[in-house]
């Protein structure tokens, strides 16, 4: 295979559409896009696709970040040598965002949204009027409600969706083209892990290893019982 096709996952498409409309919005509209949802739903994959489509800058937040660490990380991502003071650095970021027109993706935003660093975010947005994409966990919209100045600049809220059967089929076909995993098993897995794409991937990996060892070409619920599905729960004690 020489040319790759893109796995059409639901969340990848949702974020791509939202970023597309934010990047081409009329100037009077705000330019913030927020995607939120539990971990393992494929938010980072969606971020990677959106980032590649628009050559976006991407930073992943950490719990320990102060305002300054946050700002320096963004400048590092832009490849710009930071100036001395915080306000100079915010100006540098804003200038680069508005001049280049490239979006800024901030992943794991829940780590900074409750802290002083959140105000830097507002500053960057106000000074640049650029396209900002915030990605975080389920509670991000609630945390943002307290930041009125940021909250009303959201153009689109994108809740990450649980994996659909189509997503799971696409992932299985793409990752393990050498075996066929039947729909009944895929559906059972998706149901048991409640649509968490990362856990689906773990299950597919285990099924594939077993199938390779056993020489199975197709795997369905008859080969792989529902008890063997990995849900992330530790096994219950017996006896």
């Amino acid at each position: 295979m020489s040319v790759n096709t893109i796995v059409p996952l639901t969340n990848v498409g949702l974020l791509a559409a939202a970023v597309e409309s934010a990047a081409n919005r009329p100037p009077e509209l705000p330019g913030l896009v927020v995607m939120y949802g539990p971990s393992g739903y494929g938010k980072s994959l969606a971020a990677a696709y959106a980032a590649n489509m628009h050559r976006a800058y991407y930073v992943e937040c950490r719990e320990s970040w102060t305002k300054k660490a946050f700002v320096i990380a963004i400048l590092r991502e832009m490849g710009i040598i930071p100036m001395k003071t915080l306000s100079e650095m915010v100006d540098q970021i804003a200038e680069q965002l508005s001049r280049s027109g490239r979006p800024l993706i901030i992943d794991d935003v829940q780590y900074v949204i409750d802290k002083a660093a959140a105000n830097v975010l507002t500053d960057i947005y106000n000074a640049s009027q650029g396209t900002l994409i915030l990605i975080g966990e389920e509670r991000v919209p609630a945390s943002m409600a307290r930041l009125e100045r940021l909250h009303n600049r959201v153009l689109e809220w994108v809740p990450a969706q649980a994996a659909s059967l189509d997503d799971v089929c696409a992932l299985a076909a793409k990752s393990y083209p050498d075996i066929t995993i039947e729909d009944d098993l895929l559906d059972a897995i998706n149901h048991r892990v409640k649509g968490c794409l990362r856990r689906v991937a773990v299950n597919l990996y285990q099924i594939h290893s077993e199938a390779t060892a056993q020489g199975w070409k197709t795997v369905g619920l008859s080969e792989w019982s529902e008890q063997d599905i990995h849900t992330g729960q530790p096994p219950a004690r017996r006896g």
Binding site: N4, I6, Y49, N52, G79, I80, I81, E95
Partner: protein
Amino acid sequence: MSSKNVAKRKTLSALAGDVTPRQLIWDAIRHQHLDDGIITMQGIRIALKRHPELSESRISDYLRALMAGGFLVRRNPDAPPATTAIYFLQRDVGVEAPRVRRDGTLPPPPGREQLWRTLKIIGAFTGQELADAASTPQVPVAKATADEYIKMLSRAGYLQTVVEPSPGVPGRYRLVPSHWTGPMAPMIRRTKELYDPNTGAVVYRRVTKTEGGEP
């Protein structure tokens, strides 16, 4: 704008890492734009006097491409011959020098740039997964390209192996966080060495064995 204000704003962001010839020219243009808005070949040459390797024809090639792309505009197009050409920066797209072709069109971003950006975002990956995540409709990335890039990056110590590759099971890799050196993608050179433009260093060189031992 008061003169005090002008003096205060005379600072431009600078790009970190290895600076390409085009980047040098772009920086010189932006500095002149900030100074008095008058951009001339002479001004650029003065700004680049520490780089004698940048010939006037190289500079004018880039200027012509920038004009074709609508970034630069000639201010005195009707001036008689042998008059100094004065340019004006019409579209300032920030610190990064525009990659513009001679006819003014913009080439799609290189697949390498997408691979480098993606491997930082998605965590652990196999070659197939990286190629998928890094592909866009405009710039699809083949699995073979991703595999080759992973191989060179892991030899240079940029990636750690999460799952060793074995027959039937593809290897999984992850970026060593301290090895994210900057936004410019390390490139594989024709001589099979890996060059990191963020640090300006060759980080891996394939050792070729001479047949019959070293002379």
